[in-house]
């Protein structure tokens, strides 16, 4: 039975397969599929097939009810780009959101991880505190922050009052020019936990000896960060950036809970505008076209992530 001790990696790599005894091989041919079947079937039906069907539907003009779909080719995409003002607002909001998500929660997460990586009295309590908002649903985060932005009773304006900065007071969520930013701030509060956790995990893999060695060589804390910590966190950073950007593009509930896309559609995102077009205006073709655009954007950020995840197979 020498063949059965071949490491799974080599066999599953599909190249250097060593000959297994016939009985085992026959059984192995179909048995893995039995183990995979429940997960693969439900995943294919619920996620993959609808995804492909959406791509197909985006080529039709359809209200979602009528028996006949009219094939229009790429007309839905053209309409979005040329005749749909809100699409551009949503795209711009998504871009702002994405840039903010890539810069702010990631930097705060890294900073907190660097500080909290050391063990001092209470460090685990601080980790819990800073991670905590990440376990709340975005709908709940949205509701909580809606109070903070309440024009009369909310903490934001009360604080500005107390600080003597009355001129900065706003009706935060009803001012069409700025409404998206308070929403992003609320989302940031929720988005810091995950990068912090991932960076903490990454920091744990850096051998303490490297720091000691650098210290002996006379490197200061900043130099140690730039020349030791940061290069070794490269992979973690890549994962963090990928996950934060994918999550940023998925944002939906928090808009729904805070502004519902308003005022005057100024806080629409592609995800929410897709919902409005499909379920409120019965423009299924346009809605699915937006979903495809959203997926394509996600793909740009996800490809490095997927490559990283599969490289280690």
């Amino acid at each position: 039975m020498a063949t059965t001790t071949v490491p799974a990696e080599i066999v599953s790599a599909g190249r250097k397969r060593s000959p297994a005894p016939t009985r085992v091989r026959d059984q192995l041919r179909f048995l893995p599929w039995v183990f995979l079947a429940p997960a693969l079937v439900i995943y294919s039906v619920v996620v993959v097939y609808p995804m492909l069907y959406s791509a197909y539907l985006s080529l039709f003009r359809w209200d979602g009810v009528a028996p006949k779909k009219v094939f229009v080719g790429f007309q839905n995409y053209v309409t979005l780009l040329t005749h749909n003002e809100v699409f551009w607002i949503a795209l711009k909001n998504n871009a702002i959101w994405l840039v903010a998500a890539l810069l702010v929660p990631t930097s705060i997460g890294l900073g907190l991880a660097l500080v909290l990586n050391s063990r001092f009295r209470g460090s685990h309590i601080f980790r819990s505190i800073f991670y905590f908002p990440a376990v709340l649903s975005l709908a709940v985060v949205g509701l909580i922050w809606t109070w903070i932005y309440h024009p009369d009773l909310g903490l934001a304006n009360q604080l500005l009052d107390a600080l003597g900065l009355k001129f900065l007071k706003r009706n935060w969520l009803s001012d069409p020019n700025i409404a998206i930013y308070p929403v992003i701030l609320a989302a940031t509060w929720n988005a810091v936990g995950l990068p912090m956790l991932l960076f903490l995990a990454g920091l744990q893999t850096i051998p303490q000896e490297l720091h000691e060695a650098a210290k002996v060589e006379g490197a200061g804390p900043l130099q140690r960060f730039w020349h030791v910590t940061f290069p070794l966190l490269r992979e973690t950073t890549l994962i963090v950036l990928a996950i934060t950007s994918i999550n940023a593009l998925k944002a939906y509930d928090i808009i729904y809970a805070m502004t519902n896309g308003g005022p005057a559609n100024r806080t629409q995102l592609l995800s929410t505008w897709m919902y409005f077009l499909t379920y409120n205006y019965n423009e299924v073709g346009l809605g699915t076209a937006i979903a495809i655009v959203l997926f394509s954007l996600t793909l740009i950020f996800a490809i490095p992530y997927i490559r990283l995840m599969t490289r280690k197979i």
Binding site: S12, L28, V46, V47, V48, A201, Q204, Y275, I290, L294
Partner: protein, 301 residues
Amino acid sequence: MSQISTGAISARLKGTGPHNSSTQARYGARMPSAKVAIFYAALIAAALIWVTPVITLILTALKDAGDFAVNGAFSLPKSIRWANFSEAWQTGVGNYFWNSVIVTGVKVPIGILIESMAAFALTHMHFRWANKVFVYVLIGLIVPIQMTLVPLTLLMNALNLIDTLTGLIILYIGFGVPFGVLVMRGYFRTLPTAIIEAARIDGCSWFRIFYRIALPLALPAVVSLCILDGVATWNEFILAQIFLRSDELRTLPLGLVQFSTQFSTQYDQLAAAVLISVAPVMLVFLLFQRYFVAGMGGAVK
């Protein structure tokens, strides 16, 4: 990733003992006491700012509507009003709560079972398509849910599953597969092949190996996934919003947003309702927080 002991209570700020050179503070070690004080002051200030929204929520939930209207959210309640919770519970939140319990309670075990089986096949069964199937499953991690909504609506309509908890649970199981397989696969990969092979030689069937050996050995990963998946299911919004129509079937996040539009001025009750929905998550988090780290670590390994 289990070496990240978020639960460690050991205080090693001074870090002078020779035995803790490997775990001692990298930042903040051997600091003079004035610096220590500043360090703590800064950290505590930051933490206070960070929890302000939660404190606001708790304060609002404990005061009556009149107090809130006069003094706003961020002030101590004049008198504590527990009735907010029972009133919110009776106005529908209790119902939403139990719906969430049912959905999470059914979805998570079924999901983890089928995800573990799949992950086991991908790691230990000498399966030649393993890499391709894994990539196929990973795609699901990045699909925006919006990509699936319209076809799912048609599908669920055809199967008469719209506005049922059963339908919603099926969708949750499907969408949970990618993350679950990712985490379980990450853990199964660390199990020594020798154990599995030894059982094979002893004539153990693959189902028994999975059920009796692999799954029990993967218990830490199962617990992590249970918690992460449980919280994610408890918090899910968009699928519930689209596929549940009647009020009595709503889950908590959906019910709360609905509650907030219906009783938009009753902040006290709404805050109590939000707190009711957050409480179980808070409890799970406080009890099992190290599993959050372990689970996430498994996902990126």
